[in-house]
């Protein structure tokens, strides 16, 4: 070989004279190298995914679908709460009076109630009128004629003022009125609202549960993808180990892949949910209009959007960390050669 040059002399003669960089391991250089390396890894991981579009898209889509469910349930709860807050104002109290009171006494009682600061309106349904209505509507006319006295009590329909509509103050008012000697029974029509609230609470708990389960799902999906990825790059990992690569070095590109998978999945979930919202907006406005409500479907707020993006990428990272740490161990040079 006549192209021989002096071995181990590594400054090129034609290279411009530069301050010797030594091993290049001074601190600022190290920090810069550290960030450069991470940035390189970040984008080369993205590059690898783009080069295998079908597999990557499949993984990302599955993660996206998994993330959709908790996001959609969350929206259901948020909107449910918005709906009930508009329904709460429709809460009335119905007071059944003791029988045998004169019409005058009933009117007086109603007037007394109207004076209260916590009551905005009182309607009187006199017993006679109620019986009349019942006779007409029920078709039991003959039977009712046989009665010697009117079994239906006088009824007051009481609407609390705006500020006293909370479940607690309505109940307080109801209890107070029930103790009055003229009043037999007070019925609050909040039972169904309470039931709805209870339902929402169950739903909220379901969201937490679903979110937890699907988070595990995302970790498993990403972990499995990374496991296959590691098996496909077994050779490369083996070579890297042979030339002294640390576990952290080998793991790093997989962590970034996991990060991208998770972020992509979160992105798809947001896309699907926001798209669905957009489609539902108009029909819901129409339905609300029919009921005289100006209810608007609430979308995802920026904070929650950010949470989903961060959560998705974080789960991807975690899944790949677990898979990489576990499966990297199994690849050792010499174990099969």
């Amino acid at each position: 070989m006549n192209r021989r040059r002096s071995v181990r002399k590594d400054t090129q003669p034609r290279a411009p004279r530069r301050k010797p960089t030594g091993s290049g391991l001074r601190l600022p250089g190290l920090i810069k190298a550290y960030f450069t390396r991470h940035a390189q890894n970040l984008f080369s991981a993205l590059g690898r995914m783009v080069r295998q579009p079908v597999g990557s898209l499949l993984t990302v889509t599955v993660i996206g679908i998994a993330l959709c469910l908790p996001v959609a349930l969350h929206l259901l709860v948020v909107n449910g709460k918005a709906i009930t807050s508009s329904w709460d104002s429709a809460v009335d109290l119905t007071a059944y009076l003791k029988t045998g009171q004169s019409g005058d006494a009933v009117q007086k009682l109603a007037a007394k109630l109207r004076q209260r600061s916590d009551i905005s309106n009182v309607d009187v349904i006199p017993a006679d009128k109620a019986l009349e209505e019942f006779r007409e509507l029920s078709g039991f006319g003959e039977a009712l004629d046989a009665l010697t006295s009117n079994p239906i009590p006088d009824v007051l329909v009481i609407r609390p003022t705006e500020e006293n509509l909370s479940a607690a103050s309505v109940k307080l008012l109801a209890d107070e009125l029930a103790a009055w000697k003229e009043i037999d029974l007070v019925q609050v029509d909040t039972a169904w609202v309470e039931r709805f609230h209870a339902l929402l609470n169950i739903l909220r708990r379901a969201v937490t549960l679903a979110a937890g389960l699907l988070a595990v799902g995302v970790v498993v999906i990403v972990g499995n993808t990374i496991r296959l990825d590691i098996q496909n790059r077994k050779n490369e990992i083996e070579v890297c180990k042979l030339i002294g690569a640390s576990d952290a070095f080998i793991r790093r590109p997989f962590l970034y892949s996991g990060f991208w998978y998770g972020l992509g999945g979160a992105f798809i979930a947001l896309l699907v949910v926001n798209g669905t919202l957009l489609l539902l907006q108009k029909p819901i406005r129409q339905v609300a209009g029919l009921y005289g409500s100006n209810f608007e479907l609430m979308g995802l707020d920026p904070a929650f959007t950010l949470l989903i993006l961060a959560g998705g990428s974080g789960l991807g990272w975690l899944g790949s960390w677990l898979a990489a740490t576990r499966h990297m161990r199994l690849i050792e040079p010499g174990k099969d050669s």
């Binding site: 391991l25 550290y34 030339i243 002294g244």
Partner: protein, 226 residues
Amino acid sequence: MIRFEQVAKRYPGGREALSELSMSMEKGEMAFLTGHSGAGKSTLLKLIALIERPTRGQVIINGQNTNGVSRRKIPAYRRQIGIVFQDHKLLYDRTVMDNVGLPLVVQGIGHREVGRRVRAALDQVGLLGKEKLFPVALSTGEQQRVGIARAVVSKPDLLIADEPTGNLDPDLSLEIMSLFQRFNDVGVTLLIASHDLALVERLGKRRIILESGRLKQGSQPGGFHR
């Protein structure tokens, strides 16, 4: 540089590949490891590279007992040794530059410094100007030289090679061996396993001959000075 003390290696479910082997090599020495197929040449080199662990005895490299190197410390340990493989073990989806630079990248050395040192290493093996090519675009001999450049790019004190000329014709083999010779000239310790007795003879270096996992009578066990 290398010292084996009563080393034995038994693979799971096999007989002993190495038995009561003791030998040593000085710093800056160059030696060939020969012996019949199955004699334990690869096994000996694997013990040095910590690809395998000895069943008994001690392997001391550069004053460091390998039995004391934990799993976590293996990467740092391997960085002081250059390894050349018969099948090159190149990464075929990366350029020559990336392949040769890998040991430096692994150590966290900056981009520009890596480029400089890779070109220097490629220059030493006569492949300067091919850094942008992929390994498939190179001949077998060139690929092996890329493997050698990768092994020396981080300037290890010790270079081990398992059948580095196993797939090459005689001319190429001689070329590779003279390349190793030149690394030895600048002080690198070399241990090369080879089948090619004629070639080994021709180079006139020390020979460590294995026979069924033991040192063959007549080969120098160590303390040999050039």
